[in-house]
């Protein structure tokens, strides 16, 4: 089959003056939307990581002590755990929130709610030490060296960055012809994945 016959219905494949066939990418608007979507995912990553990151860079860093754990089970009164004890496992609907207390140099103390709590199981117990980052005017704090503080921010940044790295060259290629080689290089019927 000749290329003329093969590509007769392909709007953006054309023969150039050098006698060879080229494909010229189009769909600028759709590709721009893809780029904007990718940047939005990256931005979500930035938003997720922003809160702890600015506290790490410009806020306070202290070793705090967990002084209270609040356990919430559906349809029961919240249970306040004020001293260390075995905390039985709950179910999917059981939520734990943690209060960390920082002793100040002047002898006073400040309470912060850990910004990320847990379900089902408590991840720390009363009187455990946690290293936290916070702004003094905040009521919440993040654990510094904990996956839960950073993971989703990094995850969304990674995915957003990867997709942006796909979207940018895709958009930049619009209007620039790509040479189509004359024939296929292989017999795909031998390809195991081609069943």
């Amino acid at each position: 089959m000749s290329p003329e016959e093969l590509y007769k219905d392909e709007a953006n494949i054309a023969k150039a003056s050098d006698g060879r066939w080229y494909y010229t990418p189009d769909k600028f608007a759709a590709k721009l939307a893809f780029l904007i979507g990718s940047l939005a995912i990256t931005a979500l990553g930035v938003i997720l990581i922003w809160d702890p990151a600015v506290r790490y860079l410009f806020g306070e860093q202290e070793m705090a002590r967990i002084t209270r754990i609040e356990r919430n089970d559906p349809d029961t009164e919240p249970q306040l755990i004020r001293y260390r004890k075995e905390i039985p496992e709950g179910d999917y609907f059981t939520r734990f929130t943690y209060t960390a207390t920082v002793d100040q140099e002047d002898g006073s103390s400040r309470d912060f709610t850990l910004a990320i709590g847990s379900r089902r199981n408590a991840f720390v117990n009363v009187n455990d030490d946690v290293e936290i980052i916070y702004f003094t005017e905040d009521s919440h704090a993040y654990q510094l060296y904990e996956h839960r503080t950073w993971s989703f921010g990094i995850g969304f940044l990674f995915v957003g960055g990867l997709l942006t790295s796909c979207a940018v060259p895709t958009l930049l290629a619009v209007g620039k012809p790509i040479l189509i080689d004359e024939e296929a290089a292989e017999d795909l019927s031998e390809d195991p994945a081609h069943a």
Partner: protein, 840 residues
């Protein structure tokens, strides 16, 4: 922008070309362990879970081969393969977005099947990639791909898996909503799939091939396309010459039998590790995998594929046996994380070698012209066998539980004065007229200790009704969760809202009924056993060797079952920290100031281990508690109230001895409401002298309804607090604490000469101290007469059940390998592919 059918592509195209398959694998990562955890929200039975999940394979069984076949024979304005791939990834993304919202297990499993069905449209993703990358460059593509897959595994296991049970409610979420880590994880993966489908649609361009097939090739006039597909496809796939590879498929499935998606439950429910621990272990495994994949390829080329396969299979069987025996000899049958990493990765290395050589080995038995059919057949049989094995693994876990483990029911933990074995306990039960065969007995030990005898025994009775009502309770919780979210919708009309509220009331009332039934069952077992075993149990109060209260210092001498290691004493003292104790200044690890409780603990060595505790109380606290205590030795609300008041003053005025003094504490009533008044003297070096601020802080406490203050001299204020009624009168609703307090009452009476306030202090301190001592990382128990009862769900065991199955299936695998070697020697089967290569 990349196009297909190039003879040579730029290197950066290799990276982009692999992304459709790579990001699909990344996106699918939540469909394994995290999906199981999502299913666990609705059901626990492994057989039911696996039964439901394995059904997706039947949905996919015909879809994927048909789509692959079709993609060779069609051409659309969007190409022939990316058209399907985009449908696949978009469909899967939408399923993942919806999964966290599934209100019940039916919707969740339908979404899972839809995910799988959408996935069958993507069965030719690899073909699309191979059409972009020409054969001479596919080696580098494969290298990129393997490294990227393992990198993704590291990211997923190290960063994301452990986030499933996180709960995000502040930071950037505080303006929006509360989110669970599980939901975010699913949405992240949905974004991955949506993103890659957009890239496939816009960044890939298929160039029409000159040799493209047609759906009419070989098709009789008027024949249905499906009939045509089934006839041509299955005539090829069920041909006799492909029998050896199907035997190999069965062998590989036998060697790959494992816990699969239940792996997280082995780590979390059985071994007590966190999901993060599991993720870290898996991430280390991914690094090992990269290394061993390279070595395995070299080894197979050098020593022959069948020899490599047999050796690797023998290696993994030996490791499976070794791992099983090793764990059997570990305390609590619980290996350490290091042991899991080392043993697990050696086993994984053998598995990796096998997986690297399996496909090329199978292809040695296939003529080159039959490879396409062979691949289709492999896909078909692999899925069929795998579904059966998956289903069997679930059933096997249930059988194992039924054979060897307690089912749902009620259990009581009891303590005896001496160590006894199971026979002694059985005869004790028998002597009271009960049938010991109705009960399951198990010794309770400290972590890391395994013995046949123990002072503490766990007595369990199975109860069929409990299993049913616990399952119903789970359904009710899910139903309530959905209804409570639904009822807040602004789009509801009043009648609709009323109808939902009615459903909520019905569900809540049934929940209450079930909880009462469970309580009754628990109490019944407790009463029955306590009535007959009560005299044989540990003597009430005997755990208290001595108790005194002098100069605001409480001295308690206690018997313990296990000995507290000397190196844990300081940590234990720190963990007793609380606002009721006198404090001294110290520094923490970051040299920040820290106040430590003046609690000193000494370990008593000897045949009967024990502890001596000297706890110096803050005089401000004791002055309040002395007045609040009404003579009962246990009213935790008053103890907590005294703690809270002291804590608020410590926080606002500063810690240490000299910051403030509370005196003249009085209890009274005003307008029928309990009041507490006291004088507060604030010292010069206190952090503030603003009493109104302190009064405001006091009103934040639930037990204090109002607080007023009046200045009576310089830096001296009279506070009056109006107390919530519960603060003064409520006894602990927790039956267990009440019973534990009652058990030491008589002993405390004799030791402390009836001083009610000191006895209250001693009781509260005893309960806290015993709880802290029993918690992680100490696990030291104080013997108590009070049995602890609870209802339990069916217990599952994941390690030995799966390992025995793995060993058995390995042996079946070996039998089939030797059968293949035997029939090959007899000339029944031949290596057509290898023979063709030799002739070239």
């Amino acid at each position: 922008m990349i196009i297909t059918r190039k003879k040579k592509v730029p290197v950066h195209w290799l990276f982009y070309a692999q992304l459709p398959l790579l990001l699909t694998i990344y996106g699918e990562s939540v469909i394994h362990a995290p999906f199981l955890l999502l299913m666990k929200k609705f059901m626990d039975n492994p057989a039911a879970i696996m039964g439901l999940i394995s059904m997706e394979i039947y949905i996919n069984l015909f879809g994927a081969p048909f789509i692959s076949w079709l993609s060779d024979r069609v051409w659309t304005r969007w190409g022939r393969r990316k058209f399907f791939v985009v449908i696949a990834d978009t469909g899967r993304a939408l399923c993942l977005l919806a999964m966290p919202f599934a209100p019940n297990v039916i919707v969740l499993i339908i979404l899972r099947w839809a995910f799988s069905l959408a996935g069958s449209f993507g069965s030719m993703t690899q073909a699309l990639i191979y059409e972009v990358v020409p054969p001479p460059q596919r080696g580098r593509l494969s290298g990129f791909f393997q490294a990227s897959v393992q990198f993704g595994n590291i990211i997923f296991f190290f960063l994301l898996l452990g986030r499933f049970d996180d709960y995000y409610f502040m930071g950037p979420f505080r303006y929006v909503t509360e989110l669970s880590g599980g939901a975010i994880m699913f949405w992240l993966c949905a974004f991955v799939l949506l993103g890659i489908s957009a890239f496939e649609a816009l960044g890939f361009r298929e160039i029409k091939p000159p040799d493209g097939g047609s759906i009419n090739d070989g098709r009789k006039p008027g024949q249905s396309i499906f009939i045509h597909f089934f006839k041509s496809f299955y005539q090829d796939v069920f041909a006799k010459d492909l029998l050896p590879i199907y035997l190999f498929v069965f062998v590989t499935i036998m060697f790959a039998v494992n816990l699969g998606i239940f792996q997280p439950l082995l780590y979390t429910e059985q071994w007590g590790y966190s999901l993060q621990d599991m993720g870290n272990t898996m991430a280390v495994g991914a690094i090992f995998s990269i290394t061993f994949a390279l070595i395995a390829g070299w080894f197979a080329d050098r020593y022959g594929k069948i020899q490599t396969f047999v050796l690797a299979s023998a290696g993994s069987l030996i490791m499976n046996i070794f791992y099983t025996v090793w764990v059997a000899f570990q305390p609590d049958n619980r290996p350490t994380l290091i042991q899991i990493i080392v043993i697990g990765n050696i086993t994984q290395a053998f598995m990796m070698v096998k997986s690297v050589v399996t496909y090329p080995l199978m292809m040695e038995y296939v003529k080159r012209s039959r490879m396409g059919s062979a691949s289709a057949g492999i896909y078909l049989f692999q899925n069929l066998f795998r579904s059966l094995v998956l289903l069997f693994v679930g059933v096997w876990l249930v059988w194992w539980s039924v054979w060897f483990f307690p089912q749902a029911g009620y259990q009581t933990a009891t303590t005896f004065p001496d160590e006894i074995d199971a026979d002694q306990l059985r005869s004790k039960i028998e002597s009271t007229g009960l049938d010991p065969d109705d009960y399951l007995l198990r010794p309770i030990h400290q972590y890391g200790v395994d013995k046949e005898t123990s002072m503490r025994w766990w007595i369990h009775r199975n109860d069929e009704e409990t299993a049913d009502i616990l399952a119903e309770l789970k359904d009710l919780k899910n139903e309530l969760s959905s209804l409570e979210a639904e009822v807040t919708s602004p789009f509801l009309t009043e009648p609709e809202r009323d109808a939902i509220n009615e459903k909520i009331d019905t569900a809540k009332s049934r929940t209450t009924e079930i909880n009462e039934t469970l309580e009754r069952g628990k109490s019944e077992l407790h009463r029955k056993l306590y009535a007959v075993l009560g005299d044989a149990l540990f003597e009430p109060g005997a755990q208290l060797r001595d108790a005194r209260f002098e100069d605001d210092t409480l001295f308690l001498a206690l018997t313990t079952i296990e000995e507290l290691p000397q190196e844990q004493v300081e940590l234990f003292e720190q963990n007793l920290n609380g606002p009721q104790y006198q404090v001294t200044a110290s520094k923490n690890d970051l040299s920040s100031s820290r106040w430590r409780s003046e609690v000193r603990v000494e370990v008593v060595d000897g045949e009967t281990p024990g502890l001596q505790v000297n706890a110096k109380f803050d005089p401000n606290f004791t002055r309040i508690y002395r007045i609040l205590n009404t003579g009962d030795n246990l009213i935790p609300a008053t103890f907590e109230l005294a703690n809270s008041i002291n804590s608020i003053f410590q926080s606002g005025l500063g810690r240490g001895n000299q910051q403030f003094t509370i005196t003249s504490v009085e209890k009274g009533t005003r307008d029928g409401q309990a009041t507490l008044s006291f004088e507060l003297s604030i010292s010069q070096n206190a952090l503030t002298s603003d009493a109104s601020l302190l009064a405001e802080a006091l009103t934040q406490e639930q037990a204090i309804e109002d607080a007023s203050t009046q200045q009576i001299a310089d830096n001296r204020y009279r506070f009056e607090l109006q107390l919530a009624s519960e603060a003064m009168t409520a006894k602990n609703s927790d039956w267990l604490s009440r019973s534990r307090a009652d058990e030491i009452r008589t002993r405390l009476d004799s030791l402390m000469q009836g001083e009610a306030f000191a006895q209250g202090l001693a009781t509260e301190t005893y309960l806290r101290l015993a709880d802290v001592l029993a918690s992680q990382p100490f696990y030291v128990n104080i013997p108590e007469n009070t049995p602890r009862s609870k209802h339990t769900e069916r217990e599952y065991e994941y390690f030995f059940s799966s390992k025995t199955l793995e060993i058995a299936s390995d042996l079946v695998g070996f039998a089939i390998i030797f059968f293949i070697i035997y029939i090959e020697k007899k000339g029944v089967i031949r290596r057509y592919g290898a023979e063709e290569d030799l002739k070239r």
